[in-house]
Symmetry: C2
Subunit: 94 residues, 2 copies
Amino acid sequence: MKSAEFGAYLKAHREVKGIPQRIVAHALDVDTSTLSKIELGERQISITMIKPLSEILELDYKELQIRFLSEKIISEFKDTPFLKEALQLVLKKI
Amino acid sequence: MKSAEFGAYLKAHREVKGIPQRIVAHALDVDTSTLSKIELGERQISITMIKPLSEILELDYKELQIRFLSEKIISEFKDTPFLKEALQLVLKKI
DNA sequence: ACTATATTTGACATTGTTGTCTAAACACAC
DNA sequence: GTGTGTTTAGACAACAATGTCAAATATAGT
């Protein structure tokens, strides 16, 4: 899932709840313009936004965080040789 | 990654082989100034540099790549909640 | 010490990303 | 239609990261 899709996912949830961007943007401490761009995939979502997003959209934080993070890692490293081995090494180290 | 440690490791290997920065820098298609900063940890190492580095320093590519990549991931996400779970999910997906 | 080479440093231009601001586009009630 | 609130677009400044260049410093070799 690309970042644009994650943005669309957030937008869909926001609209289901009937919350205007104004409110969500305030919770994230950004402009509605920035939030709009996030929802449209024109701006990256900062990882620090996941917690407040989960709260205001009433989504499970842990689930959203894991999903966001895993997609971020995949999109960043998907074409990198030996990614699998590196991930296994990271898991061993942490 | 601004890993001074990895840079120092590369520098140590280069010096053991007696290869001047000039040669390695040329293989990486950068200035000696940039290479110096990389070795001192003042510039990030681009992942595309690992392959030419392994060749010129006669280090095992796979090993170097895995090591570099795992350290990069750790340094980037070490304080991120649910990293372990996200990594496991990534491994499942790829 | 002198010279040549190697390395490091700091200033700089370039590039990419971020969020804001203003205004335009949109939706929808009245 | 008009008016009100919402969303999006584009231009902009702030900021960080990159690599280069030229100058400064360090290291050998003789």
